[in-house]
Subunit: 287 residues, 4 copies
Amino acid sequence: MNSKPATATLLVSCPDRKGLVAAIANFLLTYNANIMHADQHQDLSEKLFLMRVQWELEGFTLPMESFGAAFAPIAAEHQMQWRVSLSTRKPRMAIFVSKYEHCLVDLLHRWRIGELDCEIPLVISNHEDCRRIVEFNGIPFHVLPVNKDNKAEAEAEQWRLMEEAGVDFIVLARYMQVLSERFVERYPNRVINIHHSFLPAFDGAKPYHRAFARGVKLIGATSHYVTEDLDEGPIIEQEVTRISHRDSVEDLVEKGRDLEKVVLSRAVRWHIDNRVLSYSNKTVVFD
Amino acid sequence: MNSKPATATLLVSCPDRKGLVAAIANFLLTYNANIMHADQHQDLSEKLFLMRVQWELEGFTLPMESFGAAFAPIAAEHQMQWRVSLSTRKPRMAIFVSKYEHCLVDLLHRWRIGELDCEIPLVISNHEDCRRIVEFNGIPFHVLPVNKDNKAEAEAEQWRLMEEAGVDFIVLARYMQVLSERFVERYPNRVINIHHSFLPAFDGAKPYHRAFARGVKLIGATSHYVTEDLDEGPIIEQEVTRISHRDSVEDLVEKGRDLEKVVLSRAVRWHIDNRVLSYSNKTVVFD
Amino acid sequence: MNSKPATATLLVSCPDRKGLVAAIANFLLTYNANIMHADQHQDLSEKLFLMRVQWELEGFTLPMESFGAAFAPIAAEHQMQWRVSLSTRKPRMAIFVSKYEHCLVDLLHRWRIGELDCEIPLVISNHEDCRRIVEFNGIPFHVLPVNKDNKAEAEAEQWRLMEEAGVDFIVLARYMQVLSERFVERYPNRVINIHHSFLPAFDGAKPYHRAFARGVKLIGATSHYVTEDLDEGPIIEQEVTRISHRDSVEDLVEKGRDLEKVVLSRAVRWHIDNRVLSYSNKTVVFD
Amino acid sequence: MNSKPATATLLVSCPDRKGLVAAIANFLLTYNANIMHADQHQDLSEKLFLMRVQWELEGFTLPMESFGAAFAPIAAEHQMQWRVSLSTRKPRMAIFVSKYEHCLVDLLHRWRIGELDCEIPLVISNHEDCRRIVEFNGIPFHVLPVNKDNKAEAEAEQWRLMEEAGVDFIVLARYMQVLSERFVERYPNRVINIHHSFLPAFDGAKPYHRAFARGVKLIGATSHYVTEDLDEGPIIEQEVTRISHRDSVEDLVEKGRDLEKVVLSRAVRWHIDNRVLSYSNKTVVFD
């Protein structure tokens, strides 16, 4: 792939007011930052200001370990929520999968050829099926069967494994178990799911069967952050494809796989690139 | 436009069994039909056979006024529901509109340049707003205000006008009144509506506002035949377009207009061309 | 439509260097500007910085008639090319058309319902065909027949009419005459054309016939600024639609009309909103 | 996947005339065929009739080994070119690849999960790079370096390997060598290539770089049968995706990979399903 320069990316959200762009731009200029990309958005209804700015580390005169202290006064003055990430530190992604392997295989391939700039310290599944392809990629594969009786223990073990592996975020690549509230609260805006319908249509079970029964002319897929409410979390990306009366449910499942792969991989990609900010159950995806 | 030869189009649906294609093809061949296009579909789950066949009238040795009698034995043998249409007899379309004129203007323009091969004997509205553009196109414009008290009388008057005008089917071009059950039963599969969402998502009122609130990344439009259940009828066509966090509700409304125009006009076009067969709340749209 | 606040929009392009965002943000902050939207882009290969910033006029303490003088030092220091536009002053658009009316009708309707925030002081054609629809919209319609012998005089008369009407930019809505080099030089990046193919494929004449002959599976349309080289100017927008072996050339023409309308109207819309910056035969379309 | 019944598929092309549908339908009915799907097309300009008909083998009273003899009289009478395929006999596909593995990996995965109903007896490459993933899938991997001096011998060896493996058709999954005329003539309409542009735009080398330079707003991919003229063969499928001024050439390459995978896999799928008929440098893709 293309070798990109080392950069820092700052994500900010705060109440909208005058001078925010200038404040941030001046702060960075003080330390000689070479801004490579900046994008901001105002939500007028919520009076919210959101910004993403990315600059080169080379030539930036503020040591990043001191960034927090140096930026604190500005953040305090404007009541900013913020986080900064370094391209030199790859985020660590855990993949959860059940039996359908298409999203998993797609993510692993994109990772292998450098499309996804992250580490994958482990894959967790409730079935053995995907072991071979995961281990082919040199990634540890953990099988933790889950049922209604052992869910709590299973999740506890999942957490242990993820702590051990220093996981930053989780991708549910067609993982067929519902996560507990405690699990979700533990990883706010850090669990990405793929739902195989155009939400909010056909949320819940068997969306392709219901799409077939309803006779829609397009089917879709939706990637979103997981919240307490199943399929209700902030939508990151959606895509659709055309179907016709000639398509059986099996054809829908097959066409849907291509949607699921693309829609999930985009969301993962954007999350890794720190492009996604979530607020009031929506997302801003910065260009 | 391109001058097309005079044709007859036969639409058939019946229980699926062997020999149906041969039976119809042989019948037409007996009278020397030059088949220009034929398309069929089997719904395996419903064991249903559906066919559309179009042939040139020139050289067809069976007078069309005798078609019914000649075809009856085959229809009876195979329990066919069927109808035949002649390109020489343009269907007569009534347009219902309220205040939003974009779909109306689009339909009228397509009709004027020959895209829609129909007659438009009248436009009915519950408001005066669209009179000028309708009359510019030389079409009678009738205003019938509707409210909960006069709905029955208003519909009675609508029917009278449509009988008088020999209307075959009705297009609701953003008509903001709910039709009564009696109205809908009177025109089965002959009332086409445009709903400004990707059904079944956001059925009912204010779909753009709800799409905005939900933070979807695509918005859609759906054309369907009207049934007793609002927004539940057989879907004829759907389309979507991409939106982003930058789009306000007003932007959604604006982008949605382009969807509504295209999706409604396709449905109307296909209905006029006798391409649409409806069964078990779905449609087959023949190529 | 939605009543938007009065705003100023600044478009800047200059050699890329550090501090440009801060310089502009600080300048605007000095005069208490409430920035509603800002977007910038760096072309790394060309070392070029491009920015669009929009702010509310209400509360902006610098009188806009003094903007140029006040901004001059910054512009000079950074070798900026820039222009500023006020939402309170609608740009004046001339439409050129020949016989095909679909793009014209589409633009006029969008203008009538407020989608296109501009004035249309005149429509110029080399044929009488579109007079009625133009005059229905209350716009002066001028017919200037053009042939190889009178081209120079015809263009001179076109210029006279446009000067008289204070035209800012020109839209060629399927205008079937090639403009002279002198004409194009007179309106740099101010003449928008719609070409009925996915450029650079099928540039020149009869694109739909050639697309049909080549057996492509998608057809397209392209809107671009007109330059000396026919169909070679900076592309503003493109869109495609699917076709199949069932589509005749006439079907392509028909499906193409929907593309042409949408693609041209987007380009016009973005040009009016000062979203388009052109450099090295490309465009940046700011969000 | 879904277990489908055993079927035969007949592809026919001949001069268009009356009675062709009846002739074929009657022939099949004679032997009690249960037609599952039939689709035909007339090319009016070429006066050509093309048909695809698929029926269940169960209950079909004509032994398939006698099909040719039994169908011969009808074929002769109507000057039909025809071929029949059995779902019980999977076509044997050779994949040619160089260093880019994304299309290869995609095809192998679709094959593994049953999307592609074929055998893959071998993969041939001019580089070692893809050995591991190919052998992971249990498929023999042959490396035959090719250069201008040894091309003839290399192709001879490729042919030997393919004869040995009983290959029916070849997929060039980003294979970076031009095939000789002799090679192409040997496999008419049996070599499928993926070109990484929206043909005829940017045929030849470096399409993404040229798309970037031209400033197009959409990029595409095209799958086609290989003929003597590079990138000029009959197009099977095309797709595009949107890009913006923010996308570098590397971004185009990355977005393009997703197009290439989908567009190539569709073409391969349709070829395997006997849906593609080629004539006068175009394709008909039957539904």
